[in-house]
Symmetry: C2
DNA sequence: GAGTGGTCTAGACCACCTG
DNA sequence: AGGTGGTCTAGACCACTCA
C-alpha cells in the first residue's frame, strides 16, 4: 500500500494553511480556483470548498465570486472568550465554590439601567447583589438587574442558594449579549466585599442580555484584585 | 407560485434554532436523526448535516455518533473578541491616531520574560516602549519584547514610525497567541505616560505570540483610565 | 451488530461579480 | 458575458459508539 488514506478536507485545509504560513502564497496573493485545487489534490470540488470555507471562517483567506480566493492581507485576529459561570471559573482553579446572596429587592429601573438595557425607565426590575467565593476567598461581587416582564419566574425565585446567573442560564438558555470589560477603583463597599484596600484596581465585566430583542438582564461582575481573564487564538 | 425558493441549509438551521429557542426541543432533548429531518424539510441529508454542524460549532447542540443529536444542556457562551491594532481601535472611534517610540534597546531576556514566553533566559531580545494616542490623548502604553532569533528583521527596523504591532503583523501574519486581561494600578511611569494619577485603575492586556512553536513576542498594553473593551455574543 | 453522524463524490444549477 | 464561489443532490462508504 502506498497511501493508506484518501485526502480529506482536513488534509486540504492543513496543506493550504501550510503554504500560506510558509509564504508559498504570500499575503494578498491569489489562490488557484477550487476546481484547480481539486485536480491537484485528487478530490472533489466540494471537498476543497469545505476546506477553504473553514479557512475563510478563520479569517485566513478572503473569498469573492468571480475574483477568486486571496490570502488575507492584514488578518484581524479573533480571540474566543468563554463566558463561564462563577462556579465553573472557581472549580477550574480546583477551589471550592461558595455563593451568598447579599440583597434582593424589587425596584423601579434607574435611568442609567434603562439606557443600558434599552428598557423604559421606571419599569419594575429585580435588583440582586451577591458574592461568589473560591476556597473562602472573595472571587467576585455581582450586581444584577433582571427585567421581571421578560422573566416572570424570577419574582418567585429567592436566589438564596442558586446564583442568578445559573438560574437565568437554565431559564433563558439562548440569548444574545453585549459584554464589556474595564478596570475600576474599589469604592468602600467593594473594598469591604472583596477584602481589599479602597482604591485598589479591580477587573470588571458588564453584560447586557437580550432574548429575541427583549432585554433580560444586566450584570456587573467585579473581580478580586489580581484576577486575570485568559484566552487564546 | 407558492414557494419561490427551496429550503437551503440556512432555512433548516434557522428553523431548528427557532425550535430550540421556543423549547419545542427542550434542553437535553434528543433531536430527530439527520435522515428524518431531511425528509421533513424535503432536502438532502447533506443539507441537514451542514445546518446542524453550524449549530454544533456554536455550541447549541451536541452531536454523537450512534446516540444522536441533543440540545446542549448548559451552553457555554463564547464571545468573539477582535484583537485589533491600536490604529484600528483609535480610528474606529473617529479619532486621529498618533504613535511615538519611547525607547528601543537590545538586552538579555529577564527571567520573568523567559518563563512567560518559554524562552531560555539570557537570550538576546529587542525591548521597545511606545505610546499610542487618539486625538492627542494618551490611548495606551506599549511595553514590547521581541525574540530576535525568531524575527531577524527586527534588528534593522527602527520602529520610529511604524508601531511594532503592525510591523510584526506584516512580518509574521499567522501565529498563535495567549492573551490575558487584568486591572492594574498606575505606577509613577504609567501615570506620567497616560496622564493620570498614580494608583489609578488601568485596564491591561498581555499577549504572548508564537509562530510554529517558536516564541515571537510578548506585549503588555496598558490603556488610559476608563478604557472599555467591548464584544458581543 | 447496528444505528448514527462524518465525510466524500460527481454532477448540477445558481448568484454574484468583474471585465 | 463569462468565470468563480455557494449550494444542493443522491448515493455511498466509513467511524464511532452504544446495547
Amino acid at each position: 500500500m502506498q497511501q493508506p488514506k484518501k485526502t480529506g478536507f482536513q488534509d486540504v485545509r492543513d496543506e493550504v494553511m501550510r503554504r500560506i504560513e510558509t509564504r508559498v502564497w504570500d499575503q494578498g496573493a491569489l489562490l488557484p480556483t477550487e476546481a484547480e485545487l481539486a485536480t491537484e489534490f485528487g478530490c472533489a470540488r466540494a471537498t476543497v470548498n469545505r476546506a477553504l470555507r473553514e479557512l475563510a471562517d478563520r479569517g485566513v483567506i478572503d473569498r469573492k465570486r468571480k475574483s477568486g480566493t486571496r490570502v488575507t492581507a492584514l488578518p484581524v485576529k479573533q480571540a474566543k472568550l468563554e463566558i463561564a459561570t462563577a462556579r465553573r471559573l472557581v472549580e477550574e482553579r480546583n477551589a471550592t465554590y461558595r455563593y451568598a446572596l447579599v440583597s434582593r429587592r424589587m425596584q423601579a429601573a434607574p435611568g442609567w439601567l434603562g439606557s443600558q438595557m434599552g428598557l423604559t425607565p421606571g419599569t419594575e426590575v429585580l435588583h440582586l447583589e451577591a458574592m461568589h467565593y473560591g476556597d473562602g476567598q472573595p472571587f467576585h461581587f455581582e450586581d444584577r438587574w433582571i427585567n421581571i416582564a421578560a422573566v416572570p419566574g424570577c419574582a418567585e425565585a429567592d436566589f438564596a442558594l442558586k446564583p442568578p446567573g445559573e438560574w437565568l442560564l437554565a431559564e433563558v438558555p439562548f440569548s444574545n449579549a453585549d459584554v464589556s470589560f474595564t478596570a475600576t477603583a474599589a469604592d468602600a463597599a467593594l473594598a469591604d466585599y472583596l477584602a481589599c484596600a479602597p482604591g485598589a484596581a479591580l477587573f470588571q465585566m458588564e453584560r447586557s442580555t437580550w432574548f429575541q430583542d427583549a432585554p433580560v438582564t444586566f450584570a456587573r461582575m467585579t473581580f478580586h484584585p489580581g484576577y486575570r481573564m485568559r484566552s487564546r487564538y
